[in-house]
Assembly symmetry: C2
């Protein structure tokens, strides 16, 4: 097996769980936070700081002014380091990678299947509350804010638009059921492998 | 089998052929032009005229002024008639319907699987030339114009935005291969049927 599956996902769509389950089913490594930590080690940055980059992206004016003395903004340095890790992992063989603009980073890698997972807003609010334990006063606003952060991060670092189907091989609504979505991606991976 | 599969598709993506093949595989009826003709009969309009509604949509000012004396613009009357046919066919049982905003018309029907099929522009240009025999001077502009017509038609008659993944259960890139796409949709249909 050679296929690298990248998964971008709306907040609360269950994309993380689907990716993890898929990796297990296929018997390949799964990279998410682990990737951030590896990237942090690579650049010698504090892992907490790296995790906060995404949040800062939407209010990044002061932040960028602060770091503007450097040749490359710190967030860009982190992005480059993460991209290098993603490319390195893809070189090592089949795996599942969620987030971190992996579809864009690996856009020229012919062994990829790029997936976007989304869900109706009401389902995502319910999932955020029940499964993630999120507890904001206005859950609708909270969930939309997480999407906004992801979109801002993606749109800043890539030439594409987060969630636009054209970035991906398949975009799938997780209201179909997590297992169904996982199986669907698996079938596409197997078809891709068979067509070599 | 109860599932109604609606397929929206970019021009040149092979969505029509995929839908036709899928209907054959599932042993259910396939509705496309046939639907337009049925609708035309229903309203007593000339079929050629009905087919041209989509093209007129983008330059519809004069056209709408011309028909503005009527209680409902003629294009809207045709849309309503087509929508009624789509609903009627969906009532009759499982089928595959391409185009005609069927996903929107049947948005409250729980037995539907809504699909969007797209492909890279270069692939679509090649397909338009080779398979559809299209022969415009500027094929790129020609293909994009067809999409624009479809988007204008969809965006006029629905509250959604044509091609936005959120309208559909799955959006799939036909560069994965027509058979792969068809099989993928079929698996989703079978999963939906099994979950009843």
């Amino acid at each position: 097996m050679k296929t690298i599956i990248t998964i971008a996902r709306e907040y609360g769509s269950g994309g993380h769980a689907i990716g993890e389950q898929l990796a297990k089913e296929l018997g390949v490594p799964y990279y998410d936070k682990q990737l951030i930590e590896l990237a942090a080690k690579e650049t010698g940055l504090n892992a907490d700081f790296v995790e906060n980059i995404e949040q800062r992206k939407t209010t990044s004016l002061l932040y960028n002014l602060y770091f503007s003395a450097q040749s490359l903004p710190l967030s860009d340095q982190v992005f480059v380091a993460q991209s290098n890790i993603i490319k390195q992992k893809a070189e090592e063989g089949a795996c599942v990678i969620t987030g971190r603009c992996a579809d864009y980073v690996l856009r020229n890698n012919p062994h990829c299947l790029h997936v976007f997972i989304y869900a109706p807003l009401d389902d995502r609010i319910a999932r955020a509350r029940m499964q993630y334990g999120a507890n904001a006063k206005d859950m609708r606003a909270y969930v939309l804010k997480q999407d906004k952060n992801r979109a801002a991060y993606y749109n800043h670092f890539t030439t594409g638009s987060w969630g636009d189907a054209h970035n991906y091989d398949v975009s799938i609504n997780s209201k179909l059921g997590e297992t169904v979505v996982m199986q669907c991606i698996k079938e596409l991976v197997l078809a891709k492998e068979a067509s070599r």
